[in-house]
Amino acid sequence: MIQKKICMVGASAVGKTSLVSRFVKSIYSDIYHASIGVKIDKKTLTVGEQELSLMLWDIAGEDEFQKITISYLKGSSGYILVVDGTRKETLYRAIDLQARVEEAIGPSPFVVLINKSDLEKQWQVTPEMIKQLAEKGWTVLLGSAKTGLGVEDAFLTLGKAML
């Protein structure tokens, strides 16, 4: 069994806690609670033949009033950059966050998970934007904490990248 620390990073209300809740407990709630500080969960995955114990650090989201605490990312083996597909500014913030995180902890595996695919009609993030991210060599996945679509896949993809 290998342990890895991974972090959930993104703007406020993009669905980081809901994604962790869906991944760890298979639960989704419509009620929004803003996270304060950091919340930690644990989930065991099997990647190939390797058992992986993921310590998930769900870091409070960033907005114009609150910067994320970069020190929480120290020692993490990878991270998930969460974007809200219905708010394109969360994508810009994710790009900014990625640069700051990389500066703080060095190059580490990460995936971009564009959440709320269940609300695709309201999306502001366009396929063109996604294409631009992919061209940078980023792994971009679409998912929904509400339906569970793509959630496990995102963690598995990151797990493989970390091993």
């Binding site: 644990k42 114990s53 310590m55 020190s71 929480y72």
Partner: protein
């Protein structure tokens, strides 16, 4: 050309002369230093001399380093352990002989200590079970739903280290954890990460230096002590108030782990398996100290022991007394039997409160069972075997003579010194029969009649 060729040797000569002068000057100036350097080099290059030099300072060096810290001990430990292992494998007798003189005292000490602990534990259990304080704790256990043992432990504990975590400093991942007995531990991985997050939060919120850390956290009855090392940190969850000396134990354990697992810590990539070997070191930190009662009380175990002894002695005394009483009754019964005519006691035995008797009994003698009843002995405890015989007791001989001869009322029979006397008047026929029959009577040697003739019947 010729000039040229002639000039060259001249130059050479000058040059050689300069070199010689320089060499002479150098020798003059640096000869002592050069000699010293040469000697030093020789000492360093020659393994034998180098070993001699090191051997001169080795004991002092070891003493000096050992007084500074435990790094030398830790470094030597694997070699010493391996040497001992190889020595035992090759010839166990050497070590056996070496430790033989200390084995006996060590075993005696261990046994004494174990007995003392047992008595102490018994005292505490009895004390906590039967004292008013014990009853109070029982009520508390009922009220809180906790077990009585748990309440006793909580109320008598000065401190106890319940769980120790070894945490990788950079990632906050759990390397190893140990838990005290009978403690329900939380998910150690989560606790480990949360402790790291709290550290990060404190550091970030109060803008303290990266190397400064949170040393203590207090939550209700629990205190968390955190010791920081270069690659790992150690957190101990303590119930009660632990002395500051315990921090030294934590620090030493963490230092040892850093020395022994230096490479594993530096190259940690999430696999905590190599740190299983750290469990014994962490277990040293799982200490607990019970509260000592100030007033020295008499030991409940001693009281109970004394009571048991008194009761035992009373029971023993009762049995001995009863046994003595029974013996006296038995002796008295035998005395009575011996005084009875027609009863002869041949042999008696006594075994586990049962009495056996073998004897001879004349059918005319008194029934021994009636004497047994009078003796107040338990008839079930007496086994008697009486063989029949004819006693030569004069009274019995006379009785038997009367039964055999059936004398008429006018005849009186008496016996003296083996002679049966018949007086009175009797028919001639009876006298004739009596003279014949009397010979059959044991105990009668002669028959003498003083009879007057009586009318025939």
């Amino acid at each position: 050309m010729a000039d040229f060729t002639r000039e060259v040797p001249e130059n050479n000569l000058n040059h050689n002369a300069d070199s010689d002068e320089l060499s002479a000057l150098r020798d003059l100036l640096f000869s002592p230093e050069q000699n010293q350097l040469g000697e030093l080099r020789q000492r360093l290059d020659d393994p034998k001399r180098y070993a001699e030099d090191v051997s001169r300072v080795l004991p002092e060096s070891i003493l000096l380093r050992a007084s500074q810290d435990k790094q030398l001990t830790n470094a030597l430990m694997p070699t010493v352990e391996e040497a001992l292992q190889i020595s035992v494998q090759r010839n166990p007798r050497i070590l056996t002989d070496a430790i033989f003189p200390i084995i006996g005292p060590a075993i005696r000490r261990a046994i004494t200590s174990a007995i003392q602990n047992l008595i102490q534990s018994l005292n505490e259990t009895l004390d906590s079970s039967f004292s008013p304080r014990g009853l109070q704790w029982r009520l508390e256990a009922l009220r809180t739903g906790k077990s009585f043992a748990e309440i006793v432990l909580l109320r008598t504990l000065r401190y106890r280290v319940e769980q120790v975590f070894l945490i990788h400093r950079k990632t906050g991942l759990l390397l190893q954890t140990v838990v005290a007995e009978a403690i329900t531990s939380q998910d150690a991985d989560m606790v480990s990460s949360m402790l790291t997050a709290i550290q990060d939060f404190v550091r970030d919120s109060f803008g303290i230096q990266q190397d400064d850390t949170l040393g203590t956290m207090q939550v209700g009855e629990l205190t968390v002590w955190i010791e920081q090392g270069p690659e790992a940190l150690m957190a101990g969850v303590i119930r009660g108030t632990a002395p500051e000396e315990l921090r030294l134990v934590f620090q030493e354990a963490l230092e040892t782990i850093h020395v022994e697992r230096k490479e594993d810590l530096a190259s940690f990539q999430g696999d905590s398996a190599p740190f299983d070997a750290c469990r014994p070191i962490l277990e040293i930190c799982l200490q607990q100290v019970q509260q000592r009662t100030e007033v020295k009380k008499s030991s409940p175990a001693l009281w109970i022991l004394a009571s048991v002894l008194v009761v035992g002695a009373s029971i023993l005394f009762f049995f001995v007394f009863q046994k003595n009483q029974e013996n006296q009754k038995w002796v008295s019964y035998l005395e009575k039997l011996r005084m009875q005519p027609g009863l002869v006691v041949l042999a008696t035995t006594e075994y586990h409160g049962k009495y056996n008797l073998i004897g001879l009994r004349d059918p005319l003698a008194i029934d021994p069972a009636s004497l047994l009843q009078d003796s107040a002995l338990n008839p079930a405890s007496v086994y008697s075997r009486w063989e029949l015989y004819q006693s030569s007791e004069p009274a019995f001989v006379l009785t038997r003579a009367k039964e055999l001869l059936q004398p008429p009322p006018t005849v009186s029979l008496s016996l003296k010194d083996g002679t049966l006397y018949a007086k009175g008047s009797a028919p001639q026929s009876w006298v004739k029969d009596a003279r014949k029959l009397v010979r059959l009577l044991p105990g009668v040697v002669h028959f003498q009649e003083d009879l007057k003739g009586a009318p025939p019947t």
